[in-house]
């Protein structure tokens, strides 16, 4: 964080762009180039804007995970919570509730899962993986299946406002992406310009020291889990509006993607630490990858293998960076 601030002060230099911490952006450009040459459909403006629109949902879903991963914990429940909220939205709309009430109810219900896993992690010392696994794929997914009877719930006419958010465009740019961008810029301010944002990284760096310094670990972690579930719920509502149905089993397909983007994103901006801007770039890279592979006629499981490799690669970079930082910390007093 410290060297980050120094570089901003030292001003812009072209050579800065070729540093390792911006490497992933170059990967993105190379990927766009390769796909654009290989597939004529890929390079159409419509498709490129579609990529931005599709990346919006995942991007909103994983902000919470980004910060939770920055504190050194993990959350695997976001996809299932989104699926649960989606089912709830579809069921409420079908029952004839007005849409503002529906969304409010669905998002509140989804956030309860986050509160629950937060309480399990913070007050009962559950390993975060076990708590979020039990809450996500145990409770949220099962309850979603229970409510929907295990089937997909279709809604005939998604409400106009939300339809506009999901499918509308503003001067050709998808509104969903603009909203995502706005959320990310706000989160970036919160992360880098407030003390709470710095406390996240302090927690990830050294739990003991952070607590000794008088920072309430419990409060931060609990609110992070609630925030994660809240954002996942919002994404779930948008997802339901997008596909005009709620699917209780859709959480699994976001599981790998979410973790991959967070750990890909950790490679850039803050070398080795999950951060929101990195995550956003990771989401876009993953959307390019999925879109490009699909247009080139590859099977979806090839995408799974590539994502798995990217995830492992991301973890390697994060681990190396952490090791280097620990050595720095020992010998250099910043």
């Amino acid at each position: 964080m410290n060297d980050n601030a120094n570089e901003i002060e030292s001003g812009f230099q072209i050579s800065n762009l070729f540093q390792a911490k911006y490497g992933l952006i170059w990967v993105a450009f190379i990927m766009i180039g390769v796909f654009a040459i290989a597939s004529p459909t890929f390079r159409t403006p419509g498709n490129l804007l579609e990529i931005l629109r599709q990346s919006g949902l995942l991007a909103i879903m994983v902000i919470g995970l980004t910060w939770i991963a920055a504190t050194g914990e993990i959350d695997v429940s976001y996809g299932d919570i989104a699926a649960f909220t989606g089912i709830m939205t579809a069921v409420f709309l079908k029952a004839g509730l007005p849409w503002p009430l529906t969304f409010l109810l669905a998002i509140c219900l989804g956030s309860i899962f986050g509160l629950f896993s937060g309480i399990l992690v913070v007050y009962f010392n559950f390993p975060s993986l076990i708590a979020t696994l039990a809450v996500g794929s145990g409770l949220a997914k099962s309850i979603a299946r229970w409510v929907s009877g295990g089937a997909v719930v279709h809604i005939s006419n998604p409400p106009g406002v939300v339809y506009q958010i999901v499918y509308g465009t503003f001067y050709g740019i998808p509104i969903l992406f603009l909203i995502t961008l706005a959320i990310y810029l706000i989160c970036r301010e919160l992360q880098d310009k407030t003390t709470t944002g710095q406390h996240l990284y302090a927690l990830g760096e050294n739990r003991q020291a952070t607590q000794e310094a008088g920072i309430s670990e419990r409060k931060i972690l609990l609110s992070l889990y609630v925030l994660s579930a809240l954002l996942a719920s919002i994404a779930g509502v948008l997802l339901t509006a997008m596909v005009a149905s709620g699917n209780p089993n859709i959480g699994g397909s976001y599981f790998l993607d979410g973790l991959t983007v967070v750990f890909l994103g950790a490679m850039i901006i803050k070398a080795g630490q999950p951060n929101v801007i990195g995550t956003l770039i990771g989401v876009i890279i993953l959307a390019i990858l999925s879109n490009g592979l699909t247009l080139m006629g590859e099977y979806f499981f090839v995408g799974n293998i590539v994502k798995g490799i990217l995830l492992v690669f991301g973890v390697i970079v994060v681990t190396l960076a952490r090791k280097r930082r620990q050595v720095d910390g020992r010998f250099v007093v910043a």
């Binding site: 076990i130 299946r145 229970w146 099977y299 499981f301 090839v302 995830l311 390697i316």
Partner: protein
């Protein structure tokens, strides 16, 4: 001397007593409500143990990984590739041309071993990544798991394999009976017995727990920490692969979804065991798996829909761990517990 005996008694037999009481309670409860449906019949109990054996073997593998203080998120995905490998070999002409051993073709054995070997290979990859290169265990294993999952599709592009399942004798893994006991139960009992001897009654077992409770201390005590981590991941993937192949044999079809639903039951079995025994043990995992199996079997007879099984297991796990945490606080003040505690993260 007497004190020592008492400690041993309370460390091993008190948790077992708790489990036995819980299990007897479940039996009484379900037996009372479903006596007319034959809950307590020999047939149902045999079925219960057969169903349990598959998830119990997967959970047993996971116990090793949790014992060295790590998590594995890849095992249930690795099992899918293992099951597909065995099914693929089952489809080949080599299978049908091989000689007969009783009523099975001899090539079934190498086919099953090949499946397990593929699983072990992924375990080795995860183990080396976590043990030697010290990568984050959860995220790395999710990565390797999804690579294995993607590769499971390469054999058939995701479609089912039906060929030769009825004729090659591979279904005997599930159907065979020795002395009226189904083969899966015998397999489960054998693996649990060997693992019990290995983890709880041997020097190597102590090294697993030493690695799990404090890596640095273990290294200075002369424990080859890296080796034990790698072994744990290999054993976990191997056992899960076997369990996935057993599922394939039971269903009579090679499917990429063979071990899809192992994740929750396996973690639940291990962590219910930890909640009662305070550390990951073979006996604890066994009782955890048995406990979940009894509940699932009982609720299935009550005609509860299949998709609630994860809900029941997750709720049981949460309640078990919460109860154990509450218990901890009050006991801790009176006497410090000497059993090694696994610090997860």
């Amino acid at each position: 001397m007497n004190d020592k005996k008492l400690v041993i008694f309370s460390d091993t037999f008190k948790p077992i007593t708790i489990f036995l009481m819980m299990i007897v309670l479940m039996f009484i409860l379900f037996g009372f409500f479903e006596y007319d449906k034959g809950y307590l019949s020999t047939r149902n109990i045999r079925m219960l143990f057969t169903h349990m054996s598959i998830s119990a073997i997967a959970a047993l593998g996971l116990t090793y990984v949790v014992a060295v203080g790590h998590f594995d998120m890849s095992f249930y995905l690795v099992g899918r590739q293992a099951a597909m490998t065995t099914s693929y070999f089952n489809k080949t002409d080599l299978m049908m041309n091989s000689f007969m051993l009783g009523n099975i073709h001899a090539f079934v054995i190498p086919a099953v071993l090949a499946g397990i070997a593929v699983g072990c290979l992924w375990g080795l990859v995860s183990g080396v990544a976590v043990g030697i290169f010290k990568l984050d265990d959860m995220v790395t294993t999710i990565g390797t798991g999804f690579m294995a999952f993607g590769m499971a599709y390469f054999y058939t592009k995701g479609s089912f394999i039906y060929d030769n399942f009825l004729t090659s004798g591979i279904t005997e893994i599930n159907d065979a009976k020795w002395f009226a006991i189904p083969f899966p139960i015998i397999l489960m009992a054998a693996l649990y017995f060997i693992s019990y001897l290995f983890l709880s009654r041997s020097k190597h077992g102590r090294c697993f727990y030493a690695t799990g409770s404090n890596k640095v201390a273990a290294i200075f005590s002369g424990v080859k920490v890296k080796h034990y981590i790698i072994i744990a991941f290999v054993v976990c993937s191997g056992f899960t692969s076997l369990a996935a192949i057993m599922t394939t044999a039971a269903q009579g079809v090679g499917s990429v979804k063979a071990s899809l639903n192992f994740l929750m039951p396996a973690y639940a079995a291990v962590y219910i065991g930890i909640a009662v025994f305070k550390k990951p043990t073979v006996i604890g995992t066994f009782f955890g798996a048995l406990f979940s199996a009894i509940m699932l079997n009982g609720f299935t007879l009550m005609a509860l829909p299949f998709y609630l099984s994860d809900l029941i297991i997750a709720a049981a796990m949460i309640i078990a761990i919460m109860a154990s945490k509450i218990d901890w606080a009050s006991i801790k003040k009176k006497k410090p517990n000497t059993a090694p505690v696994i610090h997860a993260n």
